[in-house]
């Protein structure tokens, strides 16, 4: 059985969200999501200047913890990546580690009331997208594919949680590495 290690990073207060993600990963990818705790000092990846987590530092720390398995860190804090103001997620291309932030995926971020179902859906899409990068998938031009590029929640809503076409073919070729 294939396994993915999901590491909540200060997200323990959202057990429902994590359970829904586990269920969907089983359904969509046929993988068992095991939950773990970070094996590194979370503070070391935090930038006090930008008040955000450094996505690159998180990826390195998560990869060191992962061993041969895929590992996905999920945080409620905002992420930045070097020159970028923020990112919704990041991943090692053809690597093992991915990280996703729900910070900007929350309806509350744009002044709307909380929408747990929408957040579950957005998180799943983001996790599928970043995991796709770890299988070597690049951005896809098909808006219906999970690998379609999205820079904000609206664009995340437009794409699906499924790999399509060539992305699906590459995923099937490489899924044995899960």
């Amino acid at each position: 059985m294939s396994h993915v290690l999901v590491v909540p990073l200060e997200l323990e207060h959202r057990p429902g969200l994590l359970r829904a993600l586990k269920r969907q990963l089983k359904r969509r990818l046929g993988v068992d999501a095991d939950f773990g705790t970070p094996a590194f000092e979370l503070e070391s990846c935090f930038s006090a200047v930008r008040m955000q987590y450094d996505a690159m530092a998180l990826l390195e720390a998560l990869a060191a913890q992962a061993g041969p398995r895929r590992i996905v860190g999920i945080t409620e804090s905002d992420l930045f990546l070097s020159v970028f103001t923020h990112v919704l997620g990041a991943a090692q291309l053809d690597g093992v580690a991915a990280v996703v932030s729900v910070h900007r995926l929350r309806s509350e971020a744009v002044g709307l009331p909380p929408d747990p179902a929408l957040l579950e859906e957005r998180l799943l899409k983001e996790v599928m997208h970043e995991l796709g990068h770890t299988f070597g998938l690049r951005h896809c031009q098909n808006p219906a594919c999970a690998m379609f590029s999205a820079n904000n929640p609206d664009e995340v809503d437009l794409r699906s949680a499924e790999y399509r076409g060539n992305c699906l073919r590459i995923f099937h070729e490489k899924r044995h590495s899960l």
Binding site: M56, S82, V83, F84, T85, L93, R138, Q141, S149, N151
Partner: protein
């Protein structure tokens, strides 16, 4: 992403910036190059073409603004997007004034970066496409279409090149079928007015009153049937070239009107009193000796002087027999492509026959002969038998009572009336050329 991805060059002295932008664009399928300073960027620019450069302002040595200025000089087609620190609007404005396409501030909002890069590359794509189309236009309508390399043709080509990029009025003289309109098009295509229309007016084809309306346009109600205001050819040629073909045939009255327009570039539409300005170049053509018509008093002397500023005389085909093989080869290739026929050339005997003819209808007649031969020829070469000389004419009378018999004889009648001009025959018969080709072959017609 397409098979040929856009190429983006990132120029920033910070490794982490180069690295993250490189990964960002690579994930989107772009081809990405990175340079840590201006000199490295210039080397990369020297070794390969780039569509877009993202240039950081603050760099040791030559800074981004200086580099951008340099890039603008050495690679004017390259689009440059400046990366500047948040709040450094001053440097961004300086860069924009020097020709940068846009700027983004650090740290970069991914949404903003995507938008700017997409917009820049679309701009670049349209610019390149526009240049290619203009180049193609120049190619298809240029002087190269005037085939031949005899001295007399070289002289015509030299005159075209000399006069093309001026606004001088040109008078093209030559027998019917020598290619006067082709020369007019070559002059228009070689000048600064080439992106505006070339408006031909075939003066002989219209009765005098219609020609006036055609040239000057008319106001609503100017005459019976003038239900709408209509712009004339003089107005339509604004910015471009007015080509007056067979100018010798226009009436004395229209000559007077035309003279006034050529002097002032101003006129009124028929039935109107408002002056209309139009900025056009004039090219006239005639197969008559205008000087003789002036002496005879049928063509106004003052109009003659007005149009005869830069005369170009096109020699008849019989005076440039050495060009016939080139012309034949050109027409064979043209019609082989058009008709999708596997004919590569003409036999030696057929070429000799072609070179011996007098060609009173000049190049147009030669073209018609080749087009016709391409229709009826069976082999991979045009043979003497495929040419329209010394052959018994096909009977015009229907050989029977069937529809096919009547159709066959009607097609022969029209082809003979037009001297086997396929285009004109097809127009009269109201069928397309391909259908006419098929019918000629089906009925085995020969001129």
């Amino acid at each position: 992403m397409s098979e040929d991805p856009s190429r983006i060059l990132i120029v920033d002295d910070e490794f982490s910036v180069r690295d993250s932008l490189t990964h960002w664009f690579e994930a989107d399928g772009y081809f990405v190059g990175a340079a840590g300073n201006a000199n490295e960027a210039l080397r990369k620019l020297d070794s390969a073409p780039w569509d877009l450069a993202l240039v950081d302002v603050k760099m040791p040595g030559m800074d981004g603004i200086a580099l951008q200025k340099h890039l603008h000089e050495v690679a004017p087609q390259l689009l440059v997007v400046i990366i500047t620190a948040y709040g450094s609007v001053e440097s961004a404005v300086r860069a924009l004034k020097q020709g940068a396409y846009d700027y983004i501030t650090k740290p970069v909002d991914p949404d903003e970066l995507s938008r700017v890069v997409r917009k820049a590359l679309e701009h670049r794509r349209l610019t390149v496409e526009n240049q290619q189309l203009r180049q193609r236009l120049d190619e298809v309508s240029g002087v190269d279409e005037f085939i031949g390399n005899t001295r007399s043709v070289d002289r015509v080509k030299a005159l075209i090149a000399q006069v093309a990029d001026t606004d001088v009025t040109v008078l093209i003289q030559g027998e019917s079928g020598t290619g006067k309109e082709l020369v007019a098009r070559a002059i228009h295509a070689g000048g600064h007015r080439r992106y505006f229309p070339l408006v031909p007016v075939h003066c002989a084809a219209l009765p005098d009153t219609l020609l006036e309306s055609e040239l000057f346009g008319h106001e609503k109600g100017a005459f019976t049937g003038a239900q709408y205001q209509r712009k004339g050819k003089l107005e339509l040629a604004d910015g471009g070239t007015l080509f007056l073909d067979e100018i010798a045939t226009i009436s004395q009255k229209t000559q007077v009107d035309l003279l006034r327009v050529l002097e002032t570039r101003q006129f009124t539409r028929l039935g109107g009193n408002r002056m209309v300005d139009s900025d056009f170049r004039v090219i006239c053509a005639t197969n008559e000796q205008l000087e003789r018509l002036v002496e005879e008093g049928t063509f106004r002397r003052d109009l003659f002087f007005r149009v005869n500023v830069f005369p170009i005389v096109i020699p008849p085909l019989r005076d440039r027999v050495d060009d016939i093989p080139l012309l034949v080869d050109h027409f064979v290739r043209k019609y082989a492509l058009q008709m999708d026929r596997n004919i590569h050339g003409v036999s030696e005997k057929a070429l000799k026959t072609l070179c011996k003819q007098r060609w009173p209808g000049n190049v147009r007649q030669l073209e018609n002969a080749i087009e016709r031969a391409m229709v009826i020829g069976e082999g991979e070469q045009i043979e003497v038998d495929d040419l329209p000389f010394n052959q018994p004419p096909t009977s015009v009378e229907p050989s029977g009572d069937t529809m096919a018999d009547v159709e066959r004889s009607h097609i022969i009648r029209i082809l003979e009336r037009t001297e086997w001009n396929i285009s004109m025959s097809a127009r009269i018969l109201q069928i397309d050329r391909a259908t006419l080709y098929n019918k000629i072959r089906k009925y085995g017609l020969r001129g």
